[in-house]
Symmetry: C2
Subunit: 363 residues, 2 copies
């Protein structure tokens, strides 16, 4: 059997720095656990634009379709702010999501014990927090047509279309129910069914899919209330399922609750390929952080934990994923901290590289 | 000169209870400060549906167009969950906003000193918080066409349309800049210009309007980052301007930060009428809370402070608004608490009526 293949797309800003640490981890698993990967690397986002004039070259897109999993760093930066909409770094990421049909975006919001003090929320509100947001990732207002800026009378109008078919809702819902079955069997679906017809259909389809999962306790919440409840008492949730745009905002809100943004990974999964593995892309929740790029200040853990998710969801290596996650927890328990994990206490932070090395050492 | 006119729409759930307390306050200003209002009352939401079969009767809509200001309690409840979309209680509220053309929704998120401990956030993160969210209220995905649930091939598709014209963005932006001028001269505009063309136009127009307000420091933020920053460090903001849907979610998130949801009022303002007063509707940020309706547990302060906003924004009675707000602060400082403002300490809460009476006494 050939080795499983990984395409690494470091992207922009701190992307390349954090990805360099992930490569150390990948190498460690190859050398010590017999998990060898065929790793290739390519460009996405602004980095691709600089070379190819587009945020994702067709050849890169083709490669992404062929590999077993894609690991992505981050895209975007002020340098590209004035680019035409269609050339922005983000379009590269969105093209990957859309063409690989990665409809199910898993975003854990987990509060690490060693870091609970670092949240802006009270410790008892977030300590032990462990929720999973399933965000639909290939439809909704991100991709709906018509879209654009049009002339209308004497002025222009900006238009985007929120659009969900029953089958799009169904497959996202199903992946959320499956996850809930492997967790605490509680699923909360969020939309604005009181205001949007797309939300009415969303609620109806999720309810119908729920009939196939009688063990899962299903609830529905308006997305505005969802934002409130996440802030008020996030531990009431186990799995949350929501659409692309609400998911973007609510998962960032949830991520920030943990105080550990630099720690949070994500997986974007599609349908199974011929070899049974799902189409998959893994990326940290944090952005490209251009303000600290190139300074060795970035925290590589979110990206490292994204690789752990790859081990679990793409390569059926749950035990190895646990091993990697345990190594990260040990490093944190030992007090190793990048700059983002420190308050004002005057402790000296470790660099990106030192953090990567510490995780390797803990392995 | 005739007395200014007020239309009171208590609505559903705790709406009637909290509004009864506001009427005491209105009476107090009439008897003691020479501020007499012609008050009429009517139905909205589920209460209107029960009587008229629609969530807002045409005659009520006509009255709302004529009065100087509308005070609304809250709409909605589980009893109406299965109603057709067009008959849901929320449609009554949305019809008022749309037909009165109330494009500028002012939502203060303020943390009351006496209540800072009650937030789920750390005290130093929220103490003294005082931000104002200006939410566009008459356009965007709430009202854009096409909308609905349609047949497509073998399945249905739910569609809503996000739609903003330049002039719609401009008038909302202008009202936010005006507010910023009267506050700390900082305005942050939030959208998803990296993903949505309507956000690109939004950012462009807000920037252009900003040229007329050179003293205001304008910044732009993606709405997902906005949600994060609100949780991380809300005091970085002064005024925030955003669209209808983002505003719905972000303002609820901001409201919950304060820990004082039962305390937060809102104003929805339109263009000036013939008498110079803006079209206006005032309502608490909280919902109809059907779980505690009819039990005398509701906190009437959000609704009382909505009347304070009416004094300030509709009737040019800033000093009287200050007086009412000071009375509320005094009551809180004295330790008077409805059930929602108490932790588990075992203190006995006051009832809705007692809280209203306490505010009247403090006046
Ligand atoms: C970079 C951007 C296009 C993206 C999104 O809006 O989906 C990001 O915010 C995310 O959540 O992954
Ligand atoms: C009740 C509902 C229609 C409304 C909205 O979505 O605007 C509410 O959530 C609000 O924020 O005023």
């Amino acid at each position: 059997m050939p080795n499983p293949s990984l395409l690494i797309l470091p992207g922009d800003g701190i992307g390349p720095e954090v990805m360099a640490e992930v490569r150390k981890i990948i190498d460690w698993f190859g050398a010590n656990r017999g998990l060898k990967f065929d790793v290739s690397e390519d460009l996405v986002g602004g980095a691709a634009y600089d070379v190819h004039g587009v945020p994702l070259a067709d050849e890169t897109m083709a490669k992404a379709q062929e590999v077993d999993a894609v690991l992505l760093g981050a895209v975007g930066g002020p340098k590209y702010d004035d680019l035409d909409f269609s050339l922005k770094p983000e379009r590269g990421l969105l093209r990957l999501r859309k063409e690989m049909d990665l409809f199910s975006n898993l975003r854990p919001a987990q509060c690490f014990d060693a870091l609970a003090d670092f949240s802006s929320l009270k410790k008892d509100v977030v300590a032990g927090l462990d929720i999973m947001i399933v965000r639909e990732l290939t439809s909704g207002v991100y991709f709906g047509e018509p879209r654009g800026i049009f002339e209308e009378g004497n002025e222009r109008v900006g238009i985007n279309t929120q659009r969900y078919t029953e089958s799009e809702i169904e497959r996202a819902a199903r992946s959320a129910f499956e996850l809930a079955m492997r967790r605490n069997k509680k699923l909360c679906s969020m939309e604005k069914a009181n205001v949007m017809e797309s939300g009415v259909l969303w609620r109806e389809v999720v309810t119908r899919v729920g009939k196939d999962y009688p063990e899962v306790e299903l609830s529905h919440m308006y997305a505005d209330n969802g934002a409130m409840q996440l802030v008020r008492a996030p531990k009431q949730f186990d799995v949350i399922v929501t659409d692309n745009l609400f998911g973007d905002i609510l998962s960032d809100c949830a991520a920030m609750l943990t105080g550990s943004l630099g720690m949070l990974p994500s997986a974007s999964l599609g349908a199974p390929m011929a070899n049974g593995r799902p189409k998959a892309l893994y990326e940290p929740v944090h952005g490209s952080a251009p303000d600290i790029a190139g300074q060795g200040k970035a925290n590589p853990i979110a990206c490292i934990l994204s690789f752990a998710m790859a081990l679990r969801y793409s390569f059926d290596q749950g035990a190895e994923a646990d091993r990697l996650e345990a190594a990260v927890e040990k490093v944190l328990a030992d007090g190793v901290r990048t700059a983002d994990l420190l308050g004002e206490e005057g402790v000296t932070p470790v660099s990106t590289t030192q953090m990567g090395d510490a995780v390797v050492a803990a392995l």
